[in-house]
């Protein structure tokens, strides 16, 4: 057990203990232990933000599945150098910081950004389109940031699918579409489910992208927590919000572990 001790102590002291203190703060409202939680429930603004957070996370997860599954399929179908080049297109953005990628989207989607300049010069539009500081910008930015988290696990499961099963189905008379729907997709499903849960999990706690690409109506729960803690110095209330987010995360994480196992987090 000895080699585990330093890491155990470290995580306990610098992670578990601060979280427990935060929990204590969240139950320390002057008007009773549940005071902060009651005021979250009372004020419809917070329900709106929570709803928006979940809605955004769901939309982004959906977009990631729609775009990411075909991408993983293509990656798994090609071989050699082509596969390496296409994999780089997924892994390079994955290794580039979220801040840089969001900044790049600001340069692309902004009022004077690449898209608007191109459309204005070609005369297709007369006034710049509002592409960021709205829900569209948040969806584009978050989908971009989170896509690799879906593509990589799905790709890893798809490369493990035994090609003989597909050939067997085809030789028994299944059309290509039927092979895909009744053999390939069911076999790839654990990967798709784990990728989608992972994306959802990261999306509900997102901060940077909504802060930069969203507008006043795209405030997500993480942004709200930041404002409460750093700007309004409302530590207890911010802690209560954080604790709610933590609860949601734990539920998703337990689900993930039950269904797929945490060790799936590598490729």
């Amino acid at each position: 057990m000895l080699p585990l001790v330093p890491a155990l102590v470290f995580v306990t002291v610098f992670f578990v203990y601060p979280l427990l203190r935060m929990a204590a703060l969240s139950f320390g409202a002057p008007d009773g232990p549940l005071g902060y939680y009651e005021s979250i429930l009372r004020n419809p603004v917070y329900a709106t933000v929570l709803g928006l957070t979940f809605k955004t996370a769901l939309v982004v997860t959906g977009l990631c599945v729609l775009l990411g599954v075909p991408t993983a399929y293509l990656l798994a179908s090609v071989r050699g150098t082509t596969r390496t080049i296409l994999l780089v297109a997924v892994v390079l953005p994955f290794l580039t910081s979220i801040l840089i990628r969001t900044y790049a989207w600001m340069a692309i989607l902004g009022r004077h950004g690449v898209v608007n300049q191109a459309l204005l010069t070609t005369g297709l539009i007369e006034a710049p389109l509002p592409l960021m500081h709205n829900a569209f910008g948040v969806y584009v930015g978050m989908t971009h940031v989170l896509l690799p988290f879906l593509v990589l696990p799905v790709y890893s499961v798809m490369t493990g699918i035994d090609g003989r099963l597909l050939r067997a189905a085809a030789s028994l008379g299944a059309t290509p579409r039927r092979v895909l729907a009744t053999v390939y997709v069911p076999l790839a499903l654990p990967g798709i489910a784990s990728g989608a849960l992972l994306v959802f999990l990261i999306a509900i706690g997102f901060y940077i992208t909504p802060a930069l690409l969203g507008g006043p109506r795209q405030v997500m729960i993480a942004n709200l927590i930041e404002v409460q803690v750093l700007e309004l110095l409302n530590w207890g209330f911010g802690s209560a919000l954080a604790f709610l987010l933590l609860g949601a995360t734990v539920v998703v994480m337990v689900l993930f572990d039950r269904v797929l196992g945490l060790e799936r987090l590598t490729v």
Binding site: L2, F14, F15, L67, P70, A89, L92, P153, P176, L245
Partner: protein, 261 residues
């Protein structure tokens, strides 16, 4: 059907690389504004980046903290990986979940919890607090990468070494460690990158004298679209490319697994 899927896939891959392909040329633009395609070639933004003590200071601080965090994360993570893979005990998967929790729990939560703690300890804005925060996020990745390599390590090699008279220490240094060295290198690179790119915890913990590179970018990006950020970004992208190349070579040669997250 296949054509449709491949079509979506190719458009998605373009979508994924597009921002990087746009930012790098912007950093070499001769125009004082963000214009694409860039009007002419110039190194003015790099010149401005290297001439500004704010940007260079932030870069140096980021490198220092990332190196220290890498060392600490390896020191904590490698033994933990050995403990997880080599020892038999109940609750192993719970312990793995416990070690992974810092990178699974939304960073904003960890950020405020640490902010409160360091505020109470009077450590806000110190390099030490940043080092501890970054290590917390870097070490789970070390555990995952090294544990995966250890699982694939053939223990008969160790038994052979010991049966030939090598003591456990020598066996570790001459047999086990060389076997997992590619994974340790990969783990170190991921730990470095984790710290070097970290923004959320840093945003809460850093003070005026401990502005890291991402923090400096964040402070600038909210005020104006300054192409100096594009120059800084392309330097960070270069770091990502370097890490990609090294990990890819190690993965091909010895099949090191890399973590998601």
């Amino acid at each position: 059907m296949k054509t449709v899927l491949y079509g979506i896939a190719i458009l998605t891959l373009v979508f994924l690389v597009l921002p990087i392909l746009i930012v790098v040329p912007l950093a070499f633009s001769a125009s004082p504004y963000l214009e694409f395609p860039p009007a002419g070639f110039s190194l003015q933004w790099y010149a401005r980046y290297f001439a500004s003590p704010k940007w260079t200071g932030a870069t140096v601080l980021s490198i220092q903290i990332a190196l220290a965090a890498t060392a600490l994360a390896l020191a904590l993570g490698i033994p933990a990986a050995f403990g997880l893979v080599r020892r038999q005990f109940r609750g192993k998967s719970a312990l793995l979940a416990f070690f992974m929790a810092p990178i699974i729990v939304p960073y904003i939560i960890t950020a405020i919890a640490m902010y409160f703690m360091f505020a109470r300890l009077g450590l806000l804005g110190t390099p030490l607090s940043l080092l501890l925060a970054h290590t917390l996020l870097a070490f789970p990745k070390v555990v995952v990468i090294v544990a995966a390599a250890l699982k694939g390590f053939d223990r008969t090699l160790e038994r052979a070494s010991m049966s030939l008279g090598a003591r456990p220490g020598i066996t570790f240094l001459r047999v086990t460690y060389p076997g997992i060295r590619p994974a340790v290198t990969t783990a170190g690179l991921f730990a470095f990158l984790t710290s070097f790119d970290e923004l959320i915890l840093t945003m809460f913990i850093a003070g005026p004298t401990t502005v890291t590179l991402p923090k400096q970018m964040w402070d600038t990006v909210r005020l104006e679209i300054d192409p100096t950020i594009a120059a800084a970004s392309s330097l960070l992208i270069a770091v990502a490319v370097f890490i990609l190349v090294v990990t890819e070579l190690l993965r091909r040669r010895v099949g090191v697994k890399v973590p998601i997250g």
